[in-house]
């Protein structure tokens, strides 16, 4: 069986400087995978290239067996791939309810959309309470919840998450990751990018380690978490 997302030889460059070099990565149907690495290792560039926000320099991206390498971001989104960008990316001058509706922008099945909205409200009661409030006035944690809820409204098959824990208090990080696990349990594949390697490896089944734009390690999360090099570089343990 082929992977849901298959990235081969992906390279990304900014004005001659290569941010990602020949990266291979796969995510299977319903799988939770993480990509860890230091700041500036090329994690965000990888996600942006997969989702079509930036053009890749070389290599290919296949989603569900079809090439999405040259598609534009909105075309890729319509295929069932949702990215929650770094810094949440909520629409600050739209209400919470309108942000959620934007998630379902391309969907025409009104009945199912309203069922999904109820589902999101049940899972994230804060969003139901704050329906009419401008998204820009929410706290960072609430904005992250909104971004996740909005992504769910698209009914994606693959969810790409860029640093969902960034800037959140520990309790809120836990709440956000509970929701991510819940989404994954519903059968949505997840590709998670995190600087918090401990949390990422604990949450995911498999992981990749990215250093200076190239993959250095890949394998089951448990194996990576036990790897001495990973423990030293990313899990804060002295040599």
């Amino acid at each position: 069986m082929s992977a849901l997302l298959a990235v081969k030889n992906l390279s990304v460059a900014y004005g001659g400087i290569r941010a990602v070099r020949e990266l291979d990565l796969e995510v299977a149907q319903g799988e939770m995978v993480c990509l860890i690495g230091a700041n500036g290792a090329g994690k965000t560039s990888t996600l942006k290239a997969i989702s079509g926000l930036i053009a890749s320099h070389g290599g290919s991206v296949h989603f569900d067996g079809k090439s999405i390498t040259r598609l534009q971001a909105h075309e890729i989104a319509r295929k069932g791939l949702a990215l929650v960008p770094e810094g949440r990316g909520v629409f600050p001058r739209m209400s919470v309810a309108e942000n959620l509706m934007m998630g379902a922008y391309v969907r025409t099945d009104r009945m199912a959309v309203s069922r999904d909205l109820d589902h999101v409200h049940a899972l994230l009661p804060r969003l139901a309470e704050r329906q009419g409030q401008m998204a820009g006035l929410l706290s960072g944690g609430e904005q992250q919840m909104l971004a996740l809820g909005r992504a769910m409204m698209a009914r994606p098959r693959l969810l790409l998450l860029d640093e969902p824990s960034m800037g959140l208090a520990p309790l809120m990080v836990k709440a956000v990751f509970d929701i991510i696990r819940h989404i994954a349990a519903e059968g949505v594949a997840v590709l998670l990018i995190e600087q918090n390697a401990h949390l990422a490896l604990k949450t995911c089944v498999r992981g990749y380690v990215l250093e200076h734009g190239a993959l250095t390690l890949a394998g089951p999360a448990g194996t990576l978490a036990a790897d001495p090099a990973v423990r030293q570089a990313y899990l804060g343990e002295g040599a």
Partner: protein, 309 residues
């Protein structure tokens, strides 16, 4: 009393036209932060196309009711302006979407010069007068006069504004426009075809410009190839006055500018003891603009407006 009321009516009518043109500037700025300086010329093209149709029909089919002739003029002017707006966006702005801000500003000025010269080649340099097909009704209220044309402009403007607000706040396209204005990148992640939304914004603005062009030529009874320049400049000022990027601001700014001009023209003679005449009305408009910008650089409703399109 009657002078005051008369200037109020004149100002509101003139302000309606400014507001419709200002909406075109402000919608485009709201979504891609570009001043489409060719917008005034789109208005001019709308007026001249409509006038050609109206003139031909008035000559060729003299039995036709005036309102029908006018509708036929609008029916051609609107699609012509929409096509023109789409073409300008595609050719002059889209290739420069990620260029420094100054570049599309320069192409905008270039496009407006091209359009002026194109209009001059087609329609010549002379003033073209509005054929006498419109109802000439004139009514008196409390000593002031209001004409059929003025009533039509006011009613039509109110309807268009309400329609536009509903469109932006309630429809799928309106939501996509607001999303695109707030973040093009995130909007595209939602599956919004950003280029199409931007093109739609130009199309809507250009349709409004066509209507405004017909209104202003019906009101003054004249049109010519250079009319878009001053009209565009004033409408742009109105948009800045209200807070550029803000729909309500463009409406408010347009109406205010119309009123300021009208009252300025009405009272400037008395105020200066006859030293300055009513042809100095433009001075008032731009003086107020400068004053507002000094004290409120973001315009009356600017920056904090949440219903930007």
């Amino acid at each position: 009393m009657d002078i005051f009321l008369q200037q109020l009516i004149n100002g509101l009518v003139l302000g309606s036209v400014y507001a419709l043109v200002a909406l075109g500037y402000t919608m485009v700025y709201g979504i891609i932060e570009l001043i489409n300086f060719a917008h005034g010329e789109v208005t001019m093209m709308g007026a001249l196309v409509a006038l050609s149709v109206i003139g031909a029909l008035a000559l060729g089919m003299p039995g036709l009711p005036g309102v029908l002739i006018l509708a036929a003029g609008l029916a051609l002017a609107i699609p012509v302006c929409v096509a023109l707006g789409l073409l300008i966006e595609r050719v002059a702005y889209r290739p420069l979407r990620n260029a420094p801000r100054l570049a599309p500003l320069i192409t905008a000025i270039g496009v407006s010069i091209v359009l002026q010269n194109l209009a001059m080649l087609i329609w010549g340099k002379q003033y073209i007068s509005f054929p006498p097909v419109l109802p000439q009704g004139r009514y008196e209220i409390l000593g002031a006069h209001i004409t059929d044309v003025q009533i039509a402009i006011l009613v039509l403007t109110v309807l268009i504004m309400l329609g536009l607000i509903l469109m932006v706040q309630r429809t799928r396209l309106g939501r996509a426009m607001r999303a695109t204005a707030q973040s093009r990148q995130v909007a595209s992640l939602m599956g919004v075809d950003v280029n199409r939304v931007i093109a739609s914004t130009f199309a809507i603005g250009s349709a409004l410009a066509a209507v405004a062009g017909v209104m202003v030529s019906a009101y003054y009874g004249l049109a010519h190839y250079y009319m878009g320049f001053m009209l565009g400049l004033k409408a742009f000022s109105a948009a800045v006055l209200g807070g550029i990027g803000n729909l309500g601001g463009a409406m408010l700014g347009g109406l205010l500018l119309g009123l300021i001009e009208s009252f300025g023209a009405g009272y400037i003679g008395d105020l200066t003891g006859g030293f300055l005449g009513s042809h100095y009305q433009d001075v008032f408009a731009f003086f107020v603009l400068i004053a507002v910008l000094v004290f409120r650089p973001s315009g009356l409703l600017g920056a904090r407006g949440i219903e930007r399109a």
